[in-house]
Symmetry: C2
Subunit: 126 residues, 2 copies
């Protein structure tokens, strides 16, 4: 559905280190995400983290006004290290609720589509 | 996955009147949802609406402490009439973002499962 608006690439970055770190504890889990995501920080980067700003769908749609290449980063159950958050241009919170990784992805994809519909006045969003 | 914790019934209440009202405008759309949902208000009722309280997954899990029979109501793109919200015991907001009906349902279902996992100390939630 989004093809006519933008090109989306879905990258799943998850290795042995990330997997093992999850059971070690919060700190280790967060560090493992910094390590595996850091090489992909380029252009305009947005991390999704509960510490981020809670915006509505209209504000979300404005992200696409000024940025042609955007990376969204979804963290693990513990979120991100502050060190990683500082390296991204924006930190957005989808909700106060904790979402499973796959749920966060579905929500994010729908907001991207909704955002482009809002921008182009497509009736999907109402 | 949730079977061992609770019995869930997924009811889709959507008729010709609701469908037609969506294109008439915000007021008509909201009224159509009051009409079709009202007969199902019984026991403990929770409406999901952007005007509601934003809670985290731990607070969400407490819903199940005191209530054995709970109805969750998901509104349309315009949300609910205040009149309907007043008839429900709680109003909860999943997010500042607007979700498609199906997305809201997926998010809600995961929170219910996550809520029971938190209550029973099941490792799913971390």
């Amino acid at each position: 559905m989004i093809k006519r608006f933008a090109k989306i690439e879905d990258m799943v970055l998850f290795d042995k280190n990330v997997a093992q770190s999850q059971s070690k504890g919060e700190k280790e889990a967060k560090i493992s995400y910094t390590k595996i995501y850091e090489p992909f920080l380029k252009g305009f980067n947005i991390s999704l983290d509960v510490k981020g700003k809670k915006i509505d769908s209209f504000e979300f749609s404005k992200i696409f006004d000024d940025n042609a290449n955007i990376n969204f980063f979804i963290g693990g159950a513990y979120g991100f290290e502050d060190k990683f958050l500082k390296k991204t241009q924006r930190v957005i919170s989808l909700s106060n609720l904790t979402y499973a990784h796959k749920i966060a992805k579905v929500v994010l994809f729908e907001q991207i589509y909704r955002g482009f519909c809002i921008k182009s006045n497509h009736p999907y969003h109402k």
